[in-house]
């Protein structure tokens, strides 16, 4: 009896030892061995996946081996801000639009836990384009509010993939923000870079037009017509501008994981003032070099890489350019460091060139059509608040968040002698536009500002905000003053 027991013990110990040897053999094996078929890559150990909110991405996989990766993603239906004063109910993977970034490597076995928050009203699911299987997981992940679904898949193909909700009506779920990116790195990981960011474009369809205040409902008809009011990066206007801008230092190598959730539009992704050294076309394995603008299909992605050589603010846009300046598809990358005049001289000479003639360009107005009663400001505080929202929605692209302007191109509004000298002139410029040379704070500007299609109330608010910010004269503008200039 005792003997048998001991024998058993010995056998067990031996087995154990063998197991260890075998296991470590396995480990050594994996780092050396190349698998022709990624299905055969063995996994060892479990790991909770690091998930990040945009614009950040999780730690690169580096040289780690394939693992069982637990992804825990919660669906939340929540109200957020589309732009100043405009609210929207977003449906999200992980509380953000786009959803949390998932980073894997080929051979990983992903155990996906999809949780639908009990307060949510709707069932949801997830279709990951990185999955080989029916519906990309959608069928197995259909989850009622207050429930959790678990399914697993092995990632076989390296690349950058979109995931999204595929519950009926699919278009509406995507239009409300239910998309994100999952990256599958090749064996050994992507080549290291200095900075990585996560950007995803999406189009939004609201009942009111761009900038109309209040909680805006989703407009199905506009979605069907594919006429969005907002085209934005990372879920709302200004997600990556001003204080939230992406940052880098001169000489750094940048990698952007760029996706397009759609639902309707295709993106012509471009960084003003940069050339992509490398683009993984459509997020796949083919690499193109020296690219100005790369096309990102709805439900597709691209990895772009470039080195920033000179300091300055680089603007990321959808080069279908009205989307950038009128619908929100604009982000900023601020680069700090030493100038390099050999690469970029700065301004040498400036003269005006107006192929459309000197006439002031104006924006189309809707004529007499007035859909909703405008929300009016009653107090100075409200004027400032509404004015700031309008400034953020309309003026910030040129005059910048703190009214500093862009040297050589757009005059500053902060501590501006030109602005403070004549309020009626300022009103007139906002109403009717301005073209030709002016001198602001001793510097000459020769540019064009288009006439703005703003109501008297809007003009009052935005100018009150401008005059009472950034060291200006604190003049208060009234609707009567605006009306007087308009009727002149």
């Amino acid at each position: 009896m005792t003997l048998t027991f001991k024998k058993n013990l010995v056998t067990k110990m031996l087995l154990c030892l063998g197991g260890v040897v075998f296991l470590s053999g396995c480990v050594n094996d994996q780092s050396d061995k190349k698998y022709n078929d990624t299905v055969d890559i063995p996994v060892n150990q479990e790991m909770i996946a690091e998930l990040t909110s945009p614009p950040f991405v999780p730690t690169p996989v580096g040289k780690r081996m394939a693992k069982k990766l637990i992804v825990d993603l919660e669906i939340q239906e929540r109200e957020g801000e589309m732009t100043g004063g405009v609210k929207y109910v977003y449906w999200t993977f992980g509380g953000t639009v786009p959803g949390s970034f998932i980073r894997t490597r080929v051979g990983d076995e992903v155990e996906f836990h999809l949780k639908n928050h009990p307060d949510n009203k709707l069932p949801h699911n997830i279709d990951l384009h990185a999955v080989n299987g029916p519906g990309g997981g959608a069928e197995s992940s259909f989850v009622a509010p207050g429930h959790e679904k678990v399914f697993s898949f092995k990632v076989l193909n390296p690349g950058l993939y979109v995931y999204h909700c595929a519950t009926a009506p699919v278009g509406m779920h995507i239009a409300n923000g239910m998309y994100g990116l999952i990256l599958v790195e090749p064996e050994g990981g992507l080549e290291p870079v200095d900075k990585e960011y996560y950007i995803m474009q999406g189009d939004f369809y609201t009942e009111g037009k761009y900038g109309e205040r209040g909680l805006q409902a989703f407009d199905m008809q506009k979605a069907i017509n594919e006429t969005p009011d907002y085209v934005v990066f990372n879920g709302h206007v200004g997600a990556m501008t001003g204080d939230n801008a992406l940052t880098a230092k001169v000489g750094e190598k940048i990698r952007l994981f760029v996706g397009n959730g759609g639902p309707g539009l295709v993106s012509s992704f471009h960084v003003i003032g940069e050339i992509f050294d490398k683009v993984h076309i459509e997020g796949g394995s083919m690499i193109n070099e020296n690219v100005q603008t790369t096309m990102i299909p709805a439900g597709g992605a691209a990895i772009v890489e470039f080195r920033v050589d000179v300091p300055g603010t680089f603007i990321l846009v959808d080069h279908s350019i009205f989307r950038a300046f009128n619908k929100g598809a604009l982000a900023m990358l601020k680069v700090e460091g030493e100038e390099n005049k050999a690469i970029y001289s700065g301004e040498i000479r400036d003269g005006i060139y107006l192929p459309e003639g000197g006439a002031i360009q104006s924006m189309p107005t809707d004529g007499v059509k007035k859909e909703k009663e405008e929300v009016k400001a009653f107090t100075f505080e409200e004027r400032m608040k509404f004015g700031k929202d309008k400034f953020t929605a309309t003026c910030v692209a040129c005059h910048q968040a703190n009214g500093q302007g862009i040297p050589g191109a757009f005059p500053p509004l902060a501590k501006s002698d030109y602005l403070n000298a004549d309020v009626n002139r300022a009103i007139d410029i906002v109403l009717h536009g301005k073209t030709g040379e002016i001198t602001v704070n001793g510097k000459k500007y020769n540019s064009v500002m288009t006439a703005q299609a703003l109501s008297d109330e809007d003009v009052t608010n935005v100018l009150t905000y401008v005059y009472n910010s950034w060291g200006n004269s604190k003049k208060e503008v009234t609707p009567e003053m605006v009306q007087a200039v308009r009727n002149k």
Binding site: E77, P118, K121, G135, A168, A217, I224
Partner: protein, 255 residues
């Protein structure tokens, strides 16, 4: 023998319950023929005249029910009939959260069915529910009215409407309140139209589900709204319950 007794006990406790009429007014819905989302043009559905509760069952109503039928209390409920989310926001067996006249939610299908039986009623059939819910304030079938569909879609997007009191939305053509605007509602045969949740697959499997998808305008919106209801129902099981899911009762029209 013992087994038989136990079985008898179980059956009897499940079959019989205290019948206390609660002051739930009912409205008569005049029957007719309608084309459901899942139907084709030649497959309309006939709905007989029936009666339906004017309001969804409230927290106060449901509290009365569990007091009289303790087997359905939060702590007594059999897991077969309700999962862990059953009355999840109730702090104790006899203490609901939220307003007394807000709709009772986090109730499983079994519990809802039982409740109605105890009132001498039943859950509405899905076709009955859909038929009654086609009505807006003025017409029995408002499914082609754009503003009506937009109203429903907007509601689907508004969070936390389960906190509102019953009767706070509009009174429809039949005199029934809150079919849209507060909570989803259980129906007797909620899972008979199968939506896998993979909507594109549903297109292949049962093209009838997309019968109107080629149409433009209002009918598209109509389908979108209905689709979300069917998708929601498809995601539920009889023992599930949800914060946004309540119920009301119906019964056959007495002659």
């Amino acid at each position: 023998m013992k087994l038989f007794n136990t079985a008898l006990f179980l059956v009897s406790t499940l079959l019989f319950c205290k019948v206390t009429a609660q002051n739930n007014e009912m409205a008569t819905v005049k029957g007719g023929v309608y084309l459901p989302l899942y139907g084709t043009a030649d497959k309309t559905v006939k709905v007989d005249s029936f009666m339906m509760d004017v309001y969804p069952v409230t927290n106060a109503d449901f509290l009365k029910f569990v007091k009289e039928n303790p087997l359905w209390k939060k702590s007594n409920i059999k897991r077969l009939f309700a999962d862990e989310s059953y009355l999840t926001k109730w702090t104790t067996d006899e203490n609901f959260s939220g307003l007394p006249n807000a709709p009772a939610t986090n109730v499983s299908w079994f519990a809802a069915k039982k409740y109605c039986e105890c009132q001498g009623k039943r859950l509405p059939k899905m076709d009955e529910w859909e038929y009654a819910a086609m009505a807006n304030e003025n017409v029995p079938d408002a499914r082609k009215v754009e503003s009506y569909n937009q109203y429903i879609l907007n509601w689907y997007e508004t969070p936390k409407t389960f906190n509102k009191t019953v009767g706070s939305t509009f009174k429809n053509y039949w005199g029934i309140y809150d079919l849209h605007g507060l909570v989803w509602e259980w129906t007797q045969d909620f899972n008979t139209v199968l939506i896998s949740g993979e909507s594109r697959k549903d297109v292949d499997k049962d093209s009838n589900l997309f019968c109107g998808s080629a149409a433009i305008g209002a009918s598209d919106l109509m389908n979108y709204a209905a689709f979300m209801r069917y998708a929601f129902r498809g995601s539920m099981k009889a023992r599930y319950s949800s914060q946004n899911l309540g119920f009301r009762c119906a019964k056959n029209l007495e002659n």
